[in-house]
Symmetry: C4
Subunit: 381 residues, 4 copies
């Protein structure tokens, strides 16, 4: 406890980690890149409500518990992690910093945080894995270039040491992100989606300055096609969950679930866990918040599987509330993006350390001894 206390006192903490860092990152990034990361779909209602939904809950701290050094380590699908705050997948990280996914992976490794690497990474999945071979990493899967190529990605991920396969199921088509349309957003010159077949061969120049004005000529429509796999392949169904569960020994996590009944069907189809998410407010606008959906999903899953959540978690207190509502771990993306943009590996590690410190601080004040046992009655509306 003494260590934490000193750390807290020494840190010139901003009022909200996210808001502070976001403002700094916004100054550094090209406006269209900032908008790509910061924006949501349509009216951005779901984007806006995500953090507010956690802020509605109030803590009921327990006193005289004797907790002075709360336990932050836990396991996720059996893999030990140093804290229950992981990194959600997001696309095109070399737009934020020349080292892109390599820096994020190194920052996660330094802080013992679970990283989820996206299919839409700008560095091949094997190279990302090689940066931090001992650290816990998951691979997030989109359908790319048809089933055979996609299956091959899964096998490559397993071979590269990823510990789970995360199926993102909330993108049958791309949400309408009006900022990107207004900006005519394009993949910056020199960047490729390194796990896509027709681009993987192009050289990745890690020195590329992100402020370079020229675009790659890959328009948002092209991005949409790449992400949507607008070929002959229909969108995924529960049969695809069964397929991937059979294809690999990796546990399958279904990401993008917002209903309890969907969560149950995912588990019946062979998923090992479900991940509640609104895709950063970038897909279904005016959807229920992750916080509201978490309550529904946890109730339906009823302890038969682990449940994760992302969306609007901006502080250690937000994370503690999500754990109290039944999440095994939580994931963040935007705060980590801003850290990456500001200072690469160090920025990523700094953000994750701050969140971890905030969580430990809140747990100590609230008398919660371990992230694995956060009582439901710690929080109330």
């Amino acid at each position: 406890m003494a260590d934490l206390s000193r750390a807290d006192a020494a840190l010139p903490l901003p009022k909200r980690t996210g808001a502070d860092l976001e403002a700094r990152a916004r100054e550094l990034l090209p406006p269209a890149v900032y908008d790509y990361y910061a924006g949501g779909s349509e009216t951005e209602t779901t984007l806006l409500e995500a953090p507010l939904a956690w802020q509605r809950w109030r803590l009921r701290p327990r006193m005289l518990s004797g907790v002075s050094a709360p336990e932050l380590t836990t396991t996720v699908l059996g893999t030990p992690v140093a804290s229950p705050i992981g990194v959600a997948p997001w696309a095109l990280q070399r737009m934020a910093h020349p080292e892109g996914e390599l820096a994020t992976a190194a920052g996660c490794a330094r802080t013992g945080s679970l990283m989820t690497v996206s299919t839409t990474a700008t560095v091949p999945l094997d190279e990302v894995a090689a940066v931090a071979p001992e650290s816990a990493k998951w691979f997030q899967l989109y359908q790319v270039h048809g089933p055979a190529y996609t299956d091959d990605l899964v096998r490559r991920a397993a071979a590269a040491g990823y510990r789970a396969l995360v199926l993102t199921v909330d993108l049958p088509i791309l949400g309408r992100r009006l900022r990107d349309l207004a900006n005519d957003f394009q993949l910056p010159e020199g960047l490729v989606m390194a796990n896509h077949p027709d681009q993987a061969a192009e050289p990745v120049n890690p020195e590329l300055p992100v402020s370079a004005a020229g675009g790659s000529g890959v328009s948002v429509r092209r991005l949409s096609e790449a992400l949507d796999s607008v070929d002959e392949t229909p969108p995924w169904t529960y049969a695809n969950v069964e397929h991937f569960a059979g294809l690999t020994d990796l546990p399958v996590v279904v990401k993008g679930v917002l209903r309890g009944d969907d969560a149950q069907r995912c588990l019946e189809a062979g998923a090992s866990a479900v991940w509640v998410s609104t895709h950063g407010g970038r897909q279904v606008d005016r959807a229920v918040s992750s916080a509201a959906a978490l309550v529904d999903v946890v109730s339906a899953v009823n302890d038969h599987a682990e449940v994760y959540v992302d969306g609007g978690i901006r502080s250690g207190t937000d994370a503690l509330i999500a754990l109290a509502l039944g999440a095994r771990v939580v994931f963040c993306a935007r705060p980590v993006i801003w850290g990456l943009a500001i200072d690469g590996v160090d920025g990523v590690a700094d953000v994750l350390s701050r969140l971890r410190t905030e969580l430990a601080h809140s747990m100590t004040l609230c008398g919660v001894a371990s992230v694995q046992r956060v009582p439901r009655d710690l929080v109330t509306l």
Copy 2:
């Protein structure tokens, strides 16, 4: 799905169809005409709350449903329509554009949308019907010049190919629209209520510029008298519903119902369907919202008849929410008015296409396969 996706990506969609178009139309229209279309009664509370009442609901999207090309076609009282988004009646459309109701009818025909033509049209009902003889059209009825003349209007509508008779029952007297009173709003020079007996003979000049400053000398009081039929005829009762149901083979739709018990009585009196509406916030100020009333009416009708709704629907997501709450189809007026004012036939068709595209997009993301089967649990407060 691929088609929709490409269409979405290509459209420079505004944040809210309605808000964007309304601003453009406002610039084009004379202020008093804009106020006439945009305004509501008294404090405009019901006007203001109409869109907010849909925005309160949240979507609970279903994942992995395999929906890629949702079915938007449906039937209304047995008539096939290309989408469940129809056009509500509104008065005096040649104030918005020289072609008035003719343009609206052509735009509806082009997009396969159901149009409801008002008794207070500025083009005779037969001429409107002749523009698009194959397209689905309904005729909205007010009491005009006594029962005999009104009955004759009904017969003319049936002969002209209208598929249903819509009785507007929420106008025993005209609501107090303070904007019109402040503007001393008058019917512009050269326009007539073409279905009214003492005006139908006057020539309609389709070239009349709507920005012409001169009024027709038909003051708001005169309008009120025309609309109210302030002659010896008392306001309609259920006996009138019975009368019209017996008078014509057309199905009778009662528009303006805001209570479940009223809806039941309408059906008992011979109505085939009920249409929940607050008359665009122009009649009873501080009434319940259409969204709230829809829930009450759907519960009371209990699947024994079709229920429709208008009021504050400004996007495909609003429409999807209304369908989930039990509406068979929804109707819009103001977004279509702005489209008409901006670009005549093309403007009307553009608005209706956008709404249809938005609806398809939301359905795909939410895993809803058909507008005829939108589950009630898709939405929650």
Copy 3:
């Protein structure tokens, strides 16, 4: 109906009768006098919430009812009145207009409205009664100069033709009205509380311009003492209700009740009716609103007596909501004060006519045939 419709269309109605008139009256009145009338106690929370509490309710209008000329006449304790909107008592009316209570009484008589005359009138109760001998008037009683003098006031009121005795029971001490304290508010020179013993002899100059700067030297403390009867007499209890019920043949109305249990005890003590009021937000700050208290009181009284209400009623729709919640009649003060300040008798009559017209209009649109039978389910939260 036709008459109402024409009247509505012709009236250049402001958005809110109260707001519009208040602004005009504010320009005419000395600031301290305006503050005296407009202000409330302490934080003015109860003052602020009074109109908002009616505005929270929504109407559920009934269609096809055939109502075209709603009945506005009713009876109050058996006395016929032309509308269910009466005038609440307020003090010192000659501050607002030289004719003071005489003008208010004449305006009420012209519109058939029930007037409640205050003990703190600036014209003796007999003179007020003589202005409109046939019109319905009630006398509001405070304790003045000890029990014997107070009893004598009651006998004078009965002799002068007042039809009921209204006991104001929410003033055991004067609320702290911070505006008056800040203004060092004083009774203007030349005005007296004409029903108080030591002032009644002073001449009342009806020509006194209200903008006269000089004060009477009667400070707010002196006012407080006059109103509080800070002599040996303790504040009223239920024994006093019994006393007055026995003293006079006039029915006794207890004004200022905010709880159902208090209302029951008032009836047990001999009251004929109860009047829900927060004293214009001038006594208990942060009290429940009149609208909320009305629901409680109506439920407790359970049709065994008439219930009245004042507080924040600013339009005919507000009045209709109060009637639906169970009030027999409603009372207004501030809108009438502003009318009096603007135009004396004509101003008072104009305000009361407008409210009556608005009520009739709302009733017609909502299908309510009579103010004596407004269904509870007309309104919902």
Copy 4:
């Protein structure tokens, strides 16, 4: 009643005692000292919500009760006090005024108010007690310099005449007060924590001007260490409550309880009473409000012990609401701090007198005869 009425009328009362005084105090205090007193932890959500939580409740005043001179005296753990409004402990009072805790104690004595003296006082506990030997005082205990020294403080407090021991249990570590971190807040030069072992010997200069710019070099980290007792001692548990209950004949009050189950365990461990508090919004940010926690704790304690509350009480009406919700007495800190900063002893006494007057006024208007019997149904949400 007459006395109160006159007092009220004469006082130029501000709209809110707290807001008015705070603005004046803010002008007088060095910005970093003002921030130290005014601020809360993290996002200051709990700080902000504290007064709002009382303001949500509404009064249901009882009329005709005959109350004219409400009884404000009560007892706390058997000790008579002149009013149910006591003074909560706060640190470092000589920062606000040269006389610090001595002035606060004298102001409390003058008004018959219970004072709670903090371990972190800038005047030794014995000297504070000596200022007002007959007046009711409690001693608030933190762990300081290990168990033996802390036990000795308890014995000194008992010997000095303190009537109860208040264990503050919500500070296992210091909350992160971002204002202090941003200001690099330091204990001003010349001030010491007079009850701490390594500082008690340093001279206290009561003439020290609080606006002196120089700091003492005692940084916020040093303060944190002093308050946290970051030595080998673990944070308190229920065993410590048992220890202190056995160590002294003084009744033990546990301060900082926010849950009903915690309150029960405190009583089981030997506490005589529990004190609901959020530590002025300075510890757990986003905790439940004191008002909400009070309801939970009162329900759990179920009349088996006295319950107190602090947090956001800024007026007599707030205090009355807290009493209705079951608090035996309430405590204030910030309003008293501002009074101390403005005018020393007189300022403290003035604030306490105002609060007392406001409470008596509200009780009279609401018909509440005694602070010892405030009915629960006086308030409603």
